[in-house]
């Protein structure tokens, strides 16, 4: 090689390499550019509108309203007229200094909320003068809005995502300060309601003034609004139930038997969902938490009571299924069930002749069901086996297990199994008479109102139910072809139901426990119940479905310390049924009596104990 050329060649090669490299870094590869623009580029999160929630008749239950936070980036606050600023947003100088100190201790560079949820006037004033206060800006956010002061337990609420939720969130969707559904539908359908966040990039100058879009919006993503949700709730029925429960405590759950849709889920006492909006939420929340009667405790889903007499319906069905009785089997009641020293009292009123199933149901004869329960178990060679079969039949009505539905909370309830008694008495050392209280829905048995309502729906359907659920449609899509559309069969043959249902219908005949609560001209099937309560007055219980021939509503009502079934729970049930099926309650006197009736004295007594 010519040595004179060598250096020129080397220089030329280096120059070409540099030009190629330069071309690559500056023109081909975008990532350097995007990263470097961090300082001049401001990322604006675009929040999607959270989906609305409607009731089953498309009445709006939850919507959104705007709110304006005054934000600050301490690093950028320079030479502002503090006095003027305080006057503008109506705060004292002391508050300003205090807030500023707090905000600065959080972060010098990151934006913080300076004053949350400005009033409309302050917002308007401030927005006009904002340019005079570098470092401050307004951030719009949306809060929930509830047109009805009803159903807080069903709808739930949203709140700022907590740090432990952030830690748990593996999707990386949430950031500090984001909103998240915390209870009710807001929680179970969070993913559908929240939508998809978008991002917009703008170019800002040194003073943080927006100069325009960044790269013509090439890096922007459009937010996708959350889906609207149509609930299965009938808001007017829900409201009516809440009204009926005035000054009473307990839970009501109404289900459409043909679909498993929850028509109403009431807990009393309740509260106005608007209390849990925005910044006042935490204050109000702690207030509600310590309030008498625990309004935040959703009794419809969480309170576990002994089912009482309505459970006799299940016992009758099981006895029929295992062949312990037929509808014509009769037992004579001796003021109760006697076995050795055991005596279960009964006030059915027919003590001189054998009573058949129908009569036993409408009079709620304790003897009849104790005897048939004993016989059901004795159908099998061992008590253990007989009891296990009984327990399985009972569980097939959705009792003693989680319903696995779309509600964020629930309780299992309790249907005892053989192990429970083995533990108490020793294996093989107990008889059905040892737990005869199971026959009349007392003892170890525990159910929640929603479980009892679902059990009622299964009876109404003559042997099957659909998992009770709270949502009908997500956006345009119905939940019909999801797991909620799967029919779940009980283990009792449909042929045994009519006789039992007839007994429930006759409850509303003269002499039946529901006579006083009947709806003229409507065939209802029901069963009263009274659950013994060692802490005070017994609980008043009622289950019902109507119309009996073509059930559209199945309902379970618990009224705590309501003495006995027919006193509170039965009228409340039939008023709900009347309201739902006819749209108008004609029994105004009964309605008035129930609404005005108060059990507050009972609750005060318990409080004093």
């Amino acid at each position: 090689m010519n040595r004179k050329i060598f250096s020129f060649l080397m220089l030329f090669i280096v120059m070409i390499i540099f030009l190629i490299r330069l071309f690559y870094i500056q023109i081909v590869n975008d990532s350097y550019k995007f990263e470097s623009d961090k300082n001049s580029r401001q990322k604006i999160k675009l929040y999607p509108d959270r989906g609305y929630i409607y009731d089953r008749n498309n009445i709006l239950l939850v919507s959104n309203q705007p709110a304006y936070d005054l934000m600050v980036i301490p690093r950028k606050v320079k030479n502002i007229d503090t006095l003027k600023f305080c006057k503008l947003i109506n705060i004292t100088k002391e508050r300003y200094i205090k807030r500023m100190k707090r905000v600065k201790s959080y972060s010098w560079r990151k934006p913080s909320v300076f004053i949350g949820e400005l009033s409309k006037e302050n917002f308007a004033f401030f927005q006009e003068k904002m340019f005079k206060f570098p470092g401050f800006y307004i951030q719009k956010k949306t809060l929930r809005k509830y047109p009805f002061k009803s159903a807080p337990n069903v709808l739930g609420y949203v709140g700022e995502v907590s740090s432990w939720m952030l830690k748990k969130d593996t999707s990386g969707f949430y950031r500090q300060g984001d909103q998240i559904g915390i209870a009710g539908i807001e929680k179970s359908y969070e993913k559908e309601l929240r939508g998809q966040r978008g991002v917009k990039y703008v170019v800002v100058d040194v003073h943080n003034r927006v100069q325009g879009r960044y790269e013509q919006g090439d890096y922007d993503t459009i937010p996708v609004n959350g889906a609207d949700i149509k609930s299965t709730i009938d808001i007017f029925l829900q409201q009516y139930g809440e009204k009926l429960m005035t000054n009473k405590r307990g839970g009501i759950v109404a289900i459409e038997p043909g679909t498993g849709e929850i028509l109403a889920s009431i807990t009393a006492p309740s509260y106005d969902p608007n209390l849990l909006i925005g910044r006042k939420r935490s204050k109000n929340y702690s207030k509600l938490l310590s309030q008498d009667g625990k309004p935040l405790f959703d009794r419809g889903l969480l309170a576990q009571y002994p089912p009482g007499s309505p459970f006799k319906i299940i016992n009758a069905l099981v006895a029929l299924q295992v062949g312990a009785i037929t509808e014509n089997t009769g037992f004579t009641c001796h003021h109760g069930f006697r076995h050795g020293s055991l005596h279960v009292k009964c006030h059915c009123g027919i003590y001189d002749r054998p009573q058949k199933l129908n009569s036993a149901i409408l009079r709620s004869c304790n003897n009849y069901f104790s005897t048939s329960y004993k016989l059901s178990i004795e159908q099998y060679p061992t008590t253990e086996e007989g009891f296990r079969v009984w327990s399985e039949h009972v569980k097939s009505f959705g009792l003693g297990k989680y319903l696995n539905n779309d509600l964020p909370t629930g309780r299992k309830g309790l249907v005892p199994n053989t192990q429970l008694y083995d533990k108490v008495y020793g294996k093989g050392r107990w008889r059905p008479t040892y737990n005869i209280s199971n026959a009349i829905g007392q003892g170890e048995l525990l159910v929640t109102p929603i479980q009892l309502a679902n059990m009622t729906a299964a009876v109404a359907n003559k042997g099957y139910y659909y998992t009770p659920h709270i949502v009908k449609n997500i956006g345009e899509n119905s939940v019909e072809n999801t797991r909620f559309a799967n029919r779940i069969n009980t283990t009792v043959d449909p042929k045994y139901f009519p006789a039992v249902i007839q007994g429930m219908i006759d409850v509303f005949e003269p002499g039946g426990t529901g006579w006083a609560s009947r709806i003229p001209g409507m065939k209802i099937a029901g069963k009263t119940g009274t659950a013994e309560n060692p802490h005070g007055q017994d609980h008043s219980i009622f289950i019902a479905f109507a119309p009996a021939d073509n059930p559209k509503i199945a309902i379970a009502v618990f009224v705590e310390n309501g003495y006995w079934g027919s006193r509170w729970a039965a009228p409340i049930s039939t008023l709900m049924i009347e309201k739902y099926l006819t749209g108008e309650v004609k029994r105004k006197r009964l309605e008035k009596k129930i609404i005005e009736g108060s059990l507050q004295n009972e609750y005060n007594k318990q409080k004093n104990h």
Partner: protein, 421 residues
């Protein structure tokens, strides 16, 4: 002769002079942009780097005037003196030196001003090399002279290395190209390139594997080339060198280098991605350059530059500012023009009638080339971070004056070229 002493500007190569002023001016503009902040905005603010750089530039004018005033023969005559003074100034650092940024490469003059003798040692060495080679009895074919010329070149480098300032020392490799041009056995060049090549290969690959590969390829080569009778001995010598070198590199890498050095190399060679650690400077500088895009963000509009993201922005990494604010258009123009400048220096050197002038010019071109190539490669992430300034652009009085002297001595020598018959 008379007219020349009156007019020091006669016969100057105006292309070089204009390029010089263009570089110095645009360099200054970029320093201004790199260090500008809200509180100091006057471009003449003497407390700021751009203000100081301006004073360096003005002082540089004085240097230029002096250089052009002196007779061209002066440099040839006094080259040995200049070289020895320069060596003394380097040695003196061990006693009187001031430590700045980990290296004792500075003399403090007053409280706010320091001078870096290694910047001046380059032109001194160039003069010495030119002088020595132009001695009529000198021949690169003779081993004795080879040793002597290597000693002249390596002496300043060896003093600079332990300061430690490996970047400045590395520049002395540029003289190898000068020697090659002047007829040094090409084996030296082969050896130099082979060394660099092996060094890079030895990092991702195990040295034993490399030795094996080289040995096998050599054997295959010999078998196929046998009948032509190639110098097999020479090839075996190269192989021996490869084995010795690789083994010692492995030893040095694992036993002598410290972790931070290893890290730098590994990041550079893509064996480690580490944008916040060792690779931070380079990553940030690439981000800054990349952000310029095609047209750049415009003068004073660089955001990376303003945000102090790139350390040493105004010194070794000044090219970032060029890339960010002037974009591909500006930085590619710079690379092309600077390459032209070096190429033009090479061309002009070849035109020199005096051997001394030719070799000095060639040395000048190669010193500029090394600075340019290493600095830009470092800033663009294709060479490790070696602290070495970009001539005329990087902030600093010593480097500006060093390069000014280096260039203008050649301009002076060249201006007398015509009058030599």
């Amino acid at each position: 002769m008379k007219s020349r002493s009156i007019n020091i500007f006669a016969n100057l190569d105006w292309i070089l002079v204009i390029l010089y002023f263009a570089f110095v001016f645009t360099g200054w503009i970029n320093i201004y942009s790199a260090v500008l902040d809200q509180d100091h905005s006057s471009i003449f603010d003497m407390s700021q780097k751009y203000g100081k750089q301006l004073s360096f530039i003005i002082a540089g004018l004085g240097l230029i005037f002096i250089i052009l005033m002196l007779d061209g023969k002066f440099y040839e005559r006094f080259s040995s003196v200049i070289y020895f003074v320069s060596l003394l100034s380097l040695v003196g650092l061990f006693v009187f030196g001031k430590k700045v940024g980990g290296a004792t490469s500075w003399y403090a003059i007053g409280s706010s001003f320091s001078i870096q003798p290694s910047e001046f040692a380059k032109f001194a060495t160039a003069l010495a090399v030119a002088k020595f080679i132009s001695i009529p009895s000198f021949s690169l074919k003779k081993v004795k002279y080879q040793y002597m010329i290597f000693a002249i070149i390596m002496l300043p480098a060896l003093i600079i290395i332990p300061q430690p300032d490996p970047g400045s020392a590395l520049v002395y490799v540029s003289f190898l190209f000068v020697l090659y041009r002047e007829g040094l056995n090409s084996n030296y060049m082969t050896l130099a390139f082979l060394t660099a090549f092996l060094f890079i290969l030895s990092i991702p690959f195990d040295y034993k594997t490399l030795i094996l590969i080289f040995s096998i390829s050599l054997i295959i080569y010999i078998i196929y080339q046998k009948q032509r009778g190639k110098p097999i001995v020479k090839l075996f010598l190269y192989l021996t060198y490869i084995i010795v070198f690789l083994t010692s590199v492995d030893y040095v890498y694992n036993n002598i280098l410290e972790d931070r050095h290893r890290n730098r190399l590994e990041v550079l060679l893509g064996m480690k991605h580490d944008p916040t650690g060792v690779g931070y400077n380079q990553h940030q500088s690439m981000v800054a350059i990349g952000s310029g895009g095609f047209n750049g963000k415009g003068f004073l509009k660089g955001t990376q530059t303003k945000g102090d993201f790139v350390p040493e922005q105004s010194t070794d990494f000044i090219f970032c500012t060029v890339g960010e604010e002037w974009g591909f258009v500006g930085s590619a123009s710079f690379i092309i023009i600077f390459s032209f400048f070096i190429g033009y220096l090479l061309y002009k050197s070849e035109k020199q009638k005096l051997v001394f002038s030719r070799i000095y010019g060639y040395s000048t071109a190669m010193i500029f080339f090394f600075h340019f190539a290493i600095n830009i490669a470092m800033v663009m992430g294709i060479a490790p971070v070696i602290g070495i300034p970009l001539p005329f652009y990087s902030y600093g009085g010593s480097s500006l004056w060093g390069f000014t002297i280096l260039l203008f001595i050649f301009i002076k020598l060249d201006s007398e070229n015509k009058s030599i018959l």
